[in-house]
């Protein structure tokens, strides 16, 4: 889920960077003292997740975990994902520095959308509702990210429908796996540390 360097044009890169910067600023504002360790743990999880390769399908796809990050952190997903992506660029040469903004936005925006759509159900619902909502949040994180990447690639002259189809199809298995992981994590937290999932956080 990383767009490489040298593919996108300057206006797309600048727009992505600007949107990402806005999200990061908002996220940093919302980040309280007590939440910092939580953010760091989720950053680490996101950082490592992209190394976990899902061997299904013909293409090489990996876990993203942006849905999980989003549903737990909301807007703080932006700084959290930015840190993880920066380190991935630095240490794994995934993506690149000029595309950092675009990649951050592509991953964090669906995360925030997941938060707004499913936050309430995940936190308020009973176990079944919560698990279902978390599953959808995880799947939406990946699916939304794939859609945004397709949208970015359109600007390079690729046709949206065909690119979107290829990317979505390739990420189908990941969407399902991420959904399961997200709902597993949420259920675990509900049992072990329900105060982390309190409404209004």
């Amino acid at each position: 889920m990383h767009i490489s360097e040298g593919i996108l044009s300057a206006p797309v890169l600048v727009t992505g960077a600007a949107l990402a910067a806005g999200g990061v600023a908002l996220g940093l504002k919302k980040m309280d003292y007590e939440r910092i360790p939580e953010v760091a743990v989720l950053s680490s999880a996101f950082f490592v997740a992209s190394l976990i390769h899902v061997p299904l399908g013909p293409s090489s796809v990996h876990l993203v975990l942006n849905g999980l990050v989003g549903v737990l952190l909301g807007w703080i997903a932006f700084p959290s994902i930015l840190v993880a992506l920066t380190l991935q660029t630095l240490l794994f040469q995934f993506g690149g520095f000029t595309v950092l903004g675009v990649n951050t936005f592509n991953m964090a925006a669906p995360a925030v959308v997941s938060y707004y759509l499913f936050n309430y159900l995940v936190r308020r619902g009973n176990y079944t509702v919560s698990a279902g909502a978390a599953f959808l949040a995880g799947a939406l994180g990946v699916g939304g990210g794939a859609m945004l990447i397709a949208l970015c690639l359109v600007t390079t002259g690729e046709e949206f429908i065909s690119v979107a189809k290829v990317i979505l199809l390739a990420h189908m298995p990941v969407m399902i796996i991420e959904g399961l992981i997200t709902s597993f994590c949420v259920l675990f937290l509900k049992k072990v540390k329900p105060e982390l999932l309190e409404v209004g956080r």
């Binding site: 980040m31 950082f47 490592v48 992209s50 190394l51 240490l91």
Partner: protein, 193 residues
């Protein structure tokens, strides 16, 4: 804190199953008047059906374009004597490039056009033609043998390059260390208020 430990456990449980995805690499070498290009992903799978574009590294002019086959390979005849930049674009926004130096290209085009002419012309004036023919034949034989001998070495180089493209445990733990460090810095600054 329980949550922290739990996530750490999840991360470490997944560590052994690592396989790497998501970065495409391209490697090329010139040989026998042709350039061979290979594209592969970080997890070692080949970049099939990927677009390969060849540019003149000096002028940036696009010389030719093609697609990799099922083995992620693509080869083309050297279009001109210059350093070549091979750009490989795989699906879903993955792209990388590799530059082949002018010297390597020159060597691959072979003695026939550049080196031999220079070295053998003075010979022609003094020696009999027979000797020249023999020298040419000898050179061809040597080249063939060298190629055969160098093939495994080239493969080893390719493997080394592929293994370098993979992030190791050092990078992974280093990255997590950075995040923990950043957490410390954030805690420090937020805590001072």
């Amino acid at each position: 804190m329980k949550r922290f430990y739990f996530l750490l456990v999840v991360i470490f449980c997944l560590l052994p199953t690592f396989s790497y995805a998501h970065k495409v690499s391209v490697y090329g070498y010139a040989e026998d008047g042709r350039v061979f290009v290979e594209g592969y992903f970080v997890d070692g799978s080949k970049a099939k059906n990927s677009i390969v574009e060849v540019f003149d590294a000096k002028t940036g002019e696009k010389l030719l374009e093609g697609k990799t086959d099922d083995k992620g390979m693509f080869s083309f005849k050297i279009p001109r004597l210059t350093s070549l930049t091979v750009v490989l674009t795989a699906s879903m926004g993955h792209k990388n490039y590799y530059t082949i130096s002018k010297e390597e290209v020159a060597e691959a085009i072979g003695g026939e056009t550049t080196e031999t002419e220079k070295t053998q012309k003075p010979e022609m004036e003094t020696d009999t033609e027979e000797k020249v023919v023999k020298a040419e034949e000898l050179e061809k034989v040597v080249e063939r043998v060298m190629e055969r001998k160098l093939k495994p070495i080239k493969n080893i180089l390719l493997q080394i390059q592929e293994s370098h493209a993979r992030p190791g445990i050092t990078e992974i733990l280093g990255g997590i260390g950075y995040i923990i460090g950043l957490m410390g810095i954030a805690l420090y600054f937020k805590g001072r208020k």
